[in-house]
Symmetry: D2
Subunit: 288 residues, 4 copies
Amino acid sequence: MDDQGTTARLSITCSDKPGIVAAVTNFLYNHGANITSLDQHSTDPEGGTFFMRLEFQTPGLDIARPLLEKTFAEAVAERYEMDWRISYAADRKRIAIMVSKYDHVLFELLWRWSRGELPAEISMVVSNHPDLNDAVSNFGVPFHHIPVTPETKADAESRAIELLKNKVDLVVLARYMQILTGHFVNTFPNRIINIHHSFLPAFIGANPYRQAYDRGVKLIGATAHYVTSELDMGPIIEQDVIRVSHRTSVKELKELGQDIERNVLARSVKWHLEDRIIVYGNKSVVFS
Amino acid sequence: MDDQGTTARLSITCSDKPGIVAAVTNFLYNHGANITSLDQHSTDPEGGTFFMRLEFQTPGLDIARPLLEKTFAEAVAERYEMDWRISYAADRKRIAIMVSKYDHVLFELLWRWSRGELPAEISMVVSNHPDLNDAVSNFGVPFHHIPVTPETKADAESRAIELLKNKVDLVVLARYMQILTGHFVNTFPNRIINIHHSFLPAFIGANPYRQAYDRGVKLIGATAHYVTSELDMGPIIEQDVIRVSHRTSVKELKELGQDIERNVLARSVKWHLEDRIIVYGNKSVVFS
Amino acid sequence: MDDQGTTARLSITCSDKPGIVAAVTNFLYNHGANITSLDQHSTDPEGGTFFMRLEFQTPGLDIARPLLEKTFAEAVAERYEMDWRISYAADRKRIAIMVSKYDHVLFELLWRWSRGELPAEISMVVSNHPDLNDAVSNFGVPFHHIPVTPETKADAESRAIELLKNKVDLVVLARYMQILTGHFVNTFPNRIINIHHSFLPAFIGANPYRQAYDRGVKLIGATAHYVTSELDMGPIIEQDVIRVSHRTSVKELKELGQDIERNVLARSVKWHLEDRIIVYGNKSVVFS
Amino acid sequence: MDDQGTTARLSITCSDKPGIVAAVTNFLYNHGANITSLDQHSTDPEGGTFFMRLEFQTPGLDIARPLLEKTFAEAVAERYEMDWRISYAADRKRIAIMVSKYDHVLFELLWRWSRGELPAEISMVVSNHPDLNDAVSNFGVPFHHIPVTPETKADAESRAIELLKNKVDLVVLARYMQILTGHFVNTFPNRIINIHHSFLPAFIGANPYRQAYDRGVKLIGATAHYVTSELDMGPIIEQDVIRVSHRTSVKELKELGQDIERNVLARSVKWHLEDRIIVYGNKSVVFS
């Protein structure tokens, strides 16, 4: 599970057919790759969809990486019409964190990152408020203030896209309170992770913690998901809950909710960085 | 916590004012009651609502129960405009279980009851299908088959009300798949408990387990609540969840969901039987 | 995940070397097996131990099962010095349940089995007490009473071994309160599952629930494990906990502990029946 | 639940007798205190021990605090031989955090404190290593380096006691890796909180995470407790666990264990600061 400089990861999605695992593992074996982890999932043996995540060690490879990928495409991927990707643990992913004023999730990520728990480069923090500039800068991370008003929203998004596009591999919405347009979302497909509170049942409308309190819920939680153009309806990555009671005040509900948000988002970002998540349609397969 | 033949329980709801606890505990003390448990909750010290659950032992009482209640009403309850109730553990509550074809929750209750874990009398099982007659009768519990069709629905409800009214203290919907009318619900206010699956987020429409699978949820759960005229929106009593993954098939999701339903409903019924739940508006205060 | 009459499962343990996955999946592919699930785990890419669980569908096989196994042994398993096993979902495993007087775990298993949730045949229940004879017989399962006293312990074990040996594939200790000898345990290696309460920290000695209460523990739990000759120290299969508080009486702690035991053992038995568990040394790898 | 400048808290432990609640609440009512929360617990109605936590609002008091306490002692506490304490939310408790090199728990506390989530003053951090000086100072908290070697251990403890005694109300061992002497522990009775990992079962000896991995545990956890002279055996305040699998590496087990430690200790410290914990013998009653 631990990252090593020599680890590569292959993710595959395709229609399920006999022989896929054999074809892939043969190919890698014949080129000197040592497979150290393999997870596979089929939705249905007949006509279902096939997902695979495979970790292999690169030191014994008999060809360079670009050639490995080109050969794999021709020899294996095309035959099975695979959607596939190879990534290398040594190529650290670059993250942008977008945040408004709530800072609990932002600091959880910065803090874990500063302790070496997130295998990534945090390239920048982007906020529609200037408040967190100093605190972010103390971590040595560039801070960009892009104010957003109803009038400037389109311009602000353009500036953000300019900052992020091709500069980062993952955008984390750490309680960023602006709704993103479909254009923004489609610029980073399956590369924007959002976190929000979750309840059973859902409470629609303003002040959901007050509604949850008024209904006497016994569990509050949080969900991390990839952002799609349909608000908060993208593929779920991770969820968790904590028990509460009638004694838990609305203020305490919010604090506990923030604790859950911190942990759920941190786990989700880590799994994304380790290429453990394959998105298919509106579902995520998480090989955790 | 354990039931004893000598235990009485007093539940109180009223507007919060100084002196309530003193007035109540003084009254009981002066009449020889020994308070062995007291839970109290205020929504707000200023103008909030006050809830109290109090267990006391009756052997030292200096007056009979009816007089105790009459005196309490006059000396304490009226002054604070209390909504209150005294119940006695020795007066076992009578339960009716309503069920359709899914039997997992029904048997969990019958089984715990037969093991002495539910301090109640199970007076009858009512079902719109005849299938479970033999299995229920094996527990020594009367079984009533009341078929329901669109044409006979009104008559069937009337028959059920006739069977249940003044005969039972609690109606448990153990996966009873008929929607009850407002008339039925209002006949047993805060005395009908229902169980249903819960997800984060909620999935509206048919086959929610399939929808949950398709979205890749990581937690599935169940909620027990009192039934009000607004479908599945009554005061929540208890909730729980279990972790699942993309590997969990729809069939397995359902089985795990049933396990959660069994436990959540069993806990809820037990708390109701022990007078641990005070309903106020659409909220439940559970002194568990 | 769901059992089908055509599903076969291959479990492998061996020293990790390059090429294992390719060799195995090639072999199966070349003989017409359709791999529908594959889980693999390596403790270490260099010199570690390799575990694999693989489900495949048998309808397309080009050779009969005995020949498939013989050929696999010669063509693949010997080369990698594998410890391996193929089992077929259609060959239902036979279970014996051993029990004393606590019946909660026994009935959980019988009940799930009667509902079709356990893919097995429950061949018999063996008890050192006669009490549960009728209740077990009602499920249509043979009941054997083998009394145990200090004087007859050796004889009793011999009788039990005679009953069970070659007659059942799994022995479940459902709160069987007799300590088994090393001889008994070694007769059924990695085929005896036990359940017992667990606490953080462990409480040694008599009446652990009382000790847990006196220390104010906030979690109580249960552990299911394979039985080895060292008491309660065998490979762990599954564990779970539930929150408690100072309000939870010793009696309630025991009841909650029993609820956990029921669920943890039921999950463990199911995983064993589905060949999801590979034991290696004192560790279990559970491909759940 | 929320702290207010006008909130006072009364904690009581005594032998259970009829009339205690009435006597206490009468006394407060007669002096103008408005009771806003009351939790009570009896271990046994006959001859058991009685615990009570009561929050009241002070604005309407008819006497000053010292006189209130003196009068309460004479009028109520002596009669029932109570062990009791009144504290005021406005008098923020002073905390010292002791730490070695692991910094995850320290920073969780400093961070929550800097966000206003811990109602206390963090007076100082004491460490046997100089490493964390700068990071702590950035929070505006004094840092004291007291090196400890086998030769200087006694002197070092004396220096620490001198620093802490009468200067702080709570000592939090945030992964402080030195064993404290009975003398140190007895200087701060029930005022030292420690956090350590917990497993089911416990793993004695070096490298417990490696042992847990080798045994295949499915849950790892943490326990916060008050420190007594018997190592890690003091009254338990809070516990929590997280699920792991055979895929979780030893390094990941440690990271997950640290996440649990952070949350469990933070909750425990908060409850101590809010006077929610009553210690009795080796048990804690937590009115959370």
